[in-house]
Structure formats: C-alpha cells, structure tokens
C-alpha cells in the first residue's frame, strides 16, 4: 500500500472502484456458468490490445493488498510482458510480487500454465486474444452466440476433422478447444495443448479475460475440462524425447533455444521458475554444447 | 362368384364428360372440344377411338389419364388395389397419381426423353417405381427392347439422340412393362415399320388375352382391324359443330 500512497493519482490497482465492481460482477457470473463468455465493458488500459489488457483488468479487479502476484509469459517470469505487468501492479497496487509458483496467490499468464501443480486458493488469470472457439469457422457473432446457447458444436469438430484430413492427426497444438462441465465449448487461450489436462479439475480458480473482445469467462475449482477429439483420434498432449538441458526435468514442456550460429541448440524448460527450483534442489541437466544430439521434440501422434 | 363379377365389371366408366379450352392469350377465346362423352371399358376389351383428325380423340385419352382437366362429367377408374371405382375427373392430384401408379398406364405419341438416362433405365423405371428390384426390372426391360428389335448397342444410351422409330419403341416398352389393368395408347405404331408394328400388335393381343383393357387411337387401319373389339366414333361427342 505504501507505493499506492505515494501515487495518489491512482486508485488501488489502477482501475476505479466502479469499474472493479462491474468486472467482479461479470466474474461472478462467469464462475456461475463455467465456460460461458460473459461480455463486459472493457476499459482502455495503458498498454496496447494484445498485450494482456483483458488479463490485467481481471487481475486488477480481484487483486487485494495482501495478494502475491506472479506474471508469466511463455512460461517465463523474465520476459518483457511479464516484467512490465508485474512492475505495473507493484507500482499501482503496491502488492508483493514473486516468481515462485508456490508462493503466488494470483498468477497472470500468457501461453502457459506452470508445471508445478496449482493449489486451492490460487487464482490463474489468462490473457485471451480471441475468446470465441468457433470464430474461424463461423464469422458471425450472432450465430456463434446462438450455437453456444443451443449447444450446437458440430462445427468445432469440423476444424479437428480438417486437421486429420490434412496432417493425418489433430495438428492443433495450442488454443485446443475444450468442453467445460459437458456444456460449453471454450477456447483455453493460446496455451499449448500440453497444458490442457492441467485445467481439468484444477483446485485453483481460473479466470479468462479478453480486453479487445470484451469477454470474461471462468473455470471454478474442480471443473471438468475435456479436450475435444474423435473416438479414433483421441486427444494427446505433446511429448518430448529430451529432458531439460539445464535441470534434467522430463515430462515437462520444453523450449528450443538456439545457442550459436552453427546449428547449436538445446531444449530447456519453458517454465523458468520450475527449472530454477529444480536446479537449486541439485538437479543437473546435460546442457553442455557437446552432448545435445538426441534432443528434439516429438509431436503427439 | 364375386371374382367373376369383378373380372367382367367395367374398369373404366366415362359419363357426361365435356372439355373446352379457354385461350386467354387470344382474348378468352373458347374452343369447345367434346361434350357428353360416355362409354365403358371392360377387361380384355380394346376400344378404338375413331373419327377424323382434330375431333378430340387425343383429348379424351388425356382426360382419362388425368393429363387434361375436364369441365363436366365423371371418369370412374377401378382402383386395382381397392377394387373400387374412383372418380379421376375431380382432378385431385394424389388420386390421379395413385391411379397412375397401379391402375392406368399411358403410352404417348412421343417419348419425353429425360436427359442422361439410358434407354434401358427409361423402360425399367416404372417397375422400379413399383418396388421391383432394379436388376430384375432391367432384365425385363432388356427382354422387351429385344423383342421390339432395338439394337442392344442402344440399350445403354439415352434415347434423346435416337430416331423417331427407336424412341417410339422405347416408349412402348416403357408402357407395356407393367401390368396396369387399363392401358391407354396414343398411336403407338405411328412411326414403326411393318415388322415392329406386328410385334406391337402381338404384344397388344397378349395384353388383351391377359385381361388388360385397352383404349387407343390407331390411324393405321390394319392395326385397328387386328386388335379392335369395338370402335367408338368420337364425332358423336364432338362439340365443334355446336360452337
């Protein structure tokens, strides 16, 4: 609170209280109807659309003075977007920030869910560019709303069908559509499908905000989240041949990092906090420039 | 006894039928055609409509088939499934379609060729429509076309490009393939050579022997003499003079 006092021009957590109440009401409705996109009066934020304006508004509305905030972008705490948003809330709300998943009460994220399992009491805020899972097949908003209302979801399988017809398998790797509580089809935001199973029956509250599209939706704790698929082409997450070159973690989502201009590369945890924690625990990867040959990603098939 | 009654009872009973055309494109000009048409048609009987050209023979045939509407009178047709006489003149389309399906068939003067459909399928179609397996229907169609001396090379081709005589033989085969109890023939032999004409005459005789009632127009007097059990002079019904 001290910093906020130092900046009297701003209300706590940037948004005025009326706006926060409006957003909280929307969030409550979203929680009451899991997976349903609730429209809200998205505000102009001091950042461009596409940089997390939806997530920031949701975070601002749920943030309290005693919360501990973590912000990740592509799994990392140290990328530009993550650093700026963390600094923003440290300044306008004076809340404590952290990079530790286990210590955070609110985690705002773009593109990833942490590898460390989420706990009851934690809230994840997703930044969502396009909340409508049917958008690319049905451009009319009036029509997609009716389709959601009447549970007409054949179209979403058309997209998966096209994937199999073209690639021999479901090639959608991110923003992979899910069905929530057997009712609404939802876009999980552009997280890799690797993270989809983590949403299922998660003890944490999951909130999704899309600033440009002015939609908020939510998954209350322990909600059923099922990735859509075909009987003969069941949903599968990506698997990786390699372990993390730095911390030797297996079964985690890896990023490819180019290390030189001679084709040298290595695969490391996309979740930087997870990787650092393992290294402080003494795990050591084989991340030496000489033995990276058999690393490589193998897609789900 | 009941069976005997049905087998000799009239299959078609026309009474008081009148027909005129109103030509709205010519200022509502009335063209009377026939009036007070009345006759019966019994099983195994071949009634030939006689009289000069334009007297209304074709119009009567078309009215009996439901193709032309009537201004007055009744056309009772015995429904083969129920055995009852049904009035076709009221023109209810579904009644007419029902009667055409099983009770009354018509061989027109010209084949109305359907694009892209082969001759053999054109002939087999009425059987298929009545639920007979396509293979069996096609076999019977082929047998009929062979009997009518249509070159087998033509069986698989659509009749649109056939000669007049070839088309007419396809048309006859199509009309004769079913066992409708009433058969209406509009000059079926008009464009046939002597050989094929004799085949058609033989086919008509077989139909009559089997109890089919035939009402037809035949300008060809040898054919008429060969098959007619009775001639009905349509001049008696003509409404032209009256007008």
């Amino acid at each position: 609170m001290t910093r906020a006092h130092a900046l009297p021009a701003y209300n706590f957590a940037y948004l005025d209280e009326q706006t926060k109440r409006m957003i909280r009401r929307v969030i409550l409705k979203a929680i009451a109807i899991p997976g349903y996109q609730v429209p809200f009066a998205s505000r102009e934020m001091p950042m461009p659309y596409g940089w997390g304006t939806g997530g920031v508004q949701v975070t601002a509305a749920v943030l309290g003075p005693h919360d501990v905030l973590k912000v990740i972008d592509q799994g990392a705490d140290d990328t530009t977007n993550a650093v700026s948003i963390r600094a923003f809330f440290a300044q306008v709300a004076g809340v404590a920030t952290t990079t530790k998943t286990t210590q955070a009460t609110i985690i705002q994220t773009r593109h990833r869910l942490p590898e460390t399992p989420l706990q009851a009491g934690q809230t994840v805020v997703y930044q969502v560019p396009i909340p409508e899972p049917l958008r690319f097949l049905e451009p009319r908003e009036t029509e997609t709303r009716v389709m959601h209302g009447l549970e007409e979801y054949g179209l979403i399988h058309v997209k998966l069908y096209e994937d199999i017809a073209q690639h021999g398998h479901i090639a959608t790797t991110y923003a992979y559509p899910v069905k929530v509580e057997g009712r609404y089809v939802m876009d999980p935001s552009p997280i890799p499908k690797f993270d989809n199973p983590k949403m299922h029956r998660s003890p944490a509250l999951q909130l999704f905000g899309s600033g440009r599209e002015k939609r908020i939706y939510a998954l209350p704790p322990f909600t059923d989240v099922v990735s859509l698929d075909f009987e003969d082409h069941p949903f599968q997450v990506q698997t990786f041949k390699a372990h993390c070159a730095l911390c030797d973690a297996g079964g985690v989502y890896l990023d490819e990092v180019v290390t030189d201009d001679h084709g040298g590369r290595m695969f490391v945890c996309s979740d930087t906090d997870y990787c650092e924690t393992r290294r402080t625990e003494g795990h050591r990867g084989t991340g030496l420039p000489s033995d990276r040959e058999d690393a490589g990603r193998e897609d789900a098939r | 006894m009941t069976a005997a009654l049905i087998s000799t009872a009239a299959l078609l009973r026309v009474s008081g039928v009148a027909k005129s055309f109103t030509m709205h494109l010519r200022g509502g000009l009335e063209l009377p055609v026939v009036a007070n048409v009345a006759f019966d048609l019994h099983p195994g009987e071949c009634v030939v409509l006689g009289g000069p050209s334009g007297v209304g023979k074709s119009s009567i045939l078309r009215m009996v088939y439901g193709n032309y509407a009537v201004d007055a009178g009744t056309i009772l047709v015995r429904d083969v499934t129920s055995g009852k006489m049904v009035d076709l003149a009221t023109g209810d389309p579904r009644t007419v379609l029902d009667l055409r399906h099983a009770s009354i068939a018509y061989v027109s003067q010209f084949l109305r060729a359907v694009p892209r459909v082969s001759a053999i399928d054109v002939v087999a179609e009425p059987l298929v429509a009545r639920g007979i397996p396509r293979e069996q229907a096609t076999r019977r169609a082929a047998a009929l076309l062979e009997r009518l001396n249509l070159p087998s090379a033509l069986f698989g081709l659509p009749p649109a490009t056939f000669s007049g005589g070839e088309k007419q033989r396809v048309n006859i085969a199509r009309g004769f393939i079913t066992d409708h109890p009433i058969l209406l023939l509009d000059e079926p032999t008009a464009s046939l050579d002597a050989t094929n004409r004799d085949v058609v005459v033989a086919m008509i005789r077989e139909k009559l022997a089997a109890g089919t009632a035939i009402l037809g127009i035949f300008h060809d007097s040898p054919v008429r003499e060969a098959i007619a059990t009775r001639t009905l002079d349509v001049t008696a019904f003509s409404a032209r003079e009256a007008a």
């Binding site: 097949l137 009716v146 009447l150 007409e152 054949g154 179209l155 399988h157 058309v158 069908y161 096209e162 199999i164 017809a165 073209q166 698929d229 075909f230 009987e231 003969d232 082409h233 | 055309f21 109103t22 030509m23 709205h24 494109l25 078309r62 439901g66 193709n67 032309y68 509407a69 023109g91 389309p93 579904r94 007419v96 379609l97 029902d98 399906h101 109305r112 359907v114 694009p115 892209r116 459909v117 298929v128 429509a129």
Partner: protein
C-alpha cells in the same frame, strides 16, 4: 402412398410493410412427393420457400410439419433449438448459389461430414467413409475429398451441396433454383442426379424454379405463383399441358420448343 402430409401450409402470408411478399397460400406436401413452385422473379416464390422452411418470419398463417414421432406441430410453436435441429437433420436446403450452402474454405469431406458431426458422430473414420460414399453418389471423385469447394466447378459445388444436405437422410428438402446458375449441360447432370436421389431416397421436396422444364422433370405437382398469390396448382403435367389460368398459359406459351 402415405395418407398424411409431411408439411401443411394454411393461409400463409408474408408482408414487407405494406408490400405483400406472398399471401393466401395453402397447400400440402406428402412424403416422397416433389412439389414445384414456379413463377417469375418477384412472384413471391422464394419468400414462400423461406417462410415454410423457417428461414423467415411469416406475418400470418400456419406451417405444420410432421415430426418423425408423428407429432404435427406448427413450426412457430417449436423452440428455436428444435427448429434448428430439424433444419440440420430432417431437412435440407439447397441454395441457388452453392457458396451460400457450403463452407467454401473447408474441405469437401468436412462439408459433407459437418451434419454428421453436428448430430454427434465422433468417429473420424466413419465420417470419412460416409463422406466418400456420398461424394461418389453425387459423382465427385473420392480423390477430391480433401479439396476445398473454391477449387470446384459450379456443377461440382452444386452436387457437393446436395451431398452435404442428404448425408443425414433428411425427409424434406427445400430447393431454391438448384440449377439456376449452371450451364445447360451441367444443369442436366445435376437434374438427373436430383431426380434419381429423390426417387431412391423417397424424399419430399419443395423446389422453387422459374424453369418449367425443371418442374416437369422433377415434380409431380406444381404451384404457379403470381404477385404473391397461387394462381393455379395441380398435377405438373396437367398444369403444363392444360393450363387454365391466363398467367400459366402465358408461361407455358413462352417456352421455346426444342
């Protein structure tokens, strides 16, 4: 023949403000029967088609449809969910412009398979087999299954639209000038295909056309419309060979003989 109509229209009217789109329309459609609605542009035939297929609100009158379970409700009394379910299972709608009825940027296979997926089919192999089967029935090479309709000719697109509609074995198909935008040779192929499929599947069809040859070829019954009203209806061959109303006589007299 079934003794109960599948569709029953009574005193239907559609107004656009003071202008009458169609009025005083009553007719029935029975299972397995093709009914043609003919008339010139502006005669109200497409308005009528849209009203009876639930695509447009009517101003007055009733449109009852025989459901598979035998109920015969007015379409207006069904919920939107029921109406839309009917529209993608029990009914088909073939548009004049195939682009209106197809997803142009989705493969032919998915276009055909969409309705199956919409009713819950979740087996890719089965969907693909059924789609292949239907493409063959409408004379599209199975090898084209993964091509998008944008790469198809007009005739192929129209045949694809037909397959897409028939895959769920509908009972009633609405068609709006299905051969309207096609070359004559292509038209014949589509017509022939429609004729065969309608007969094989025992479909009830309401087809709007200004082409009397199409009406003669496909339909058993015909409704002639002028200025939003039915001026004559009856057996197709009867209406065409013995037209009674001045307008029908004009229509029939306007066909060039070939």
């Amino acid at each position: 023949m079934s003794s109960q109509p599948i569709l029953s229209v009574r005193n239907l009217e559609r107004r656009y403000g003071a202008f009458i789109g169609c009025t005083d329309i009553s007719f029935d459609v029975w299972p397995g029967e093709v009914v043609a609605i003919v008339g010139e542009s502006g005669s109200g035939k497409t308005t009528l088609l849209n009203c009876i297929s639930g695509r447009m609100e009517r101003s007055a009158g009733t449109v009852c449809y025989r459901m598979r379970d035998g109920r015969f409700p007015d379409l207006g009394d069904l919920s939107e969910a029921e109406r839309r379910f009917l529209a993608r299972t029990d009914w088909g709608f073939v548009h004049q412009n195939p682009a209106d009825g197809l997803r142009m940027r989705v493969s032919a296979g998915a276009n055909v398979g969409e309705r199956l997926m919409a009713v819950g089919e979740r087996h890719y192999g089965n969907i693909r087999r059924t789609a292949t089967d239907w493409l063959e029935r409408v004379e599209i090479a199975a090898a084209r299954i993964d091509d998008q309709p944008v790469a198809f000719s007009g005739g192929m697109r129209q045949r694809l639209q037909i397959a897409r509609n028939l895959v769920t074995h509908p009972r009633l198909i609405f068609m709006d000038e299905p051969t309207g935008g096609l070359d004559v040779s292509v038209q014949a192929r589509v017509l022939d295909l429609l004729r065969m499929l309608v007969a094989d599947l025992g479909l009830a069809v309401v087809i709007v056309t200004h082409d009397l040859a199409v009406a003669r070829l496909l339909s058993q019954r015909m409704i002639v419309m002028k200025s939003g009203r039915i001026v004559e209806q009856g057996l197709t061959d009867r209406v065409l060979d013995d037209p009674r109303h001045p307008y029908t006589q004009l229509l029939v007299a306007s066909i060039p003989e070939s």
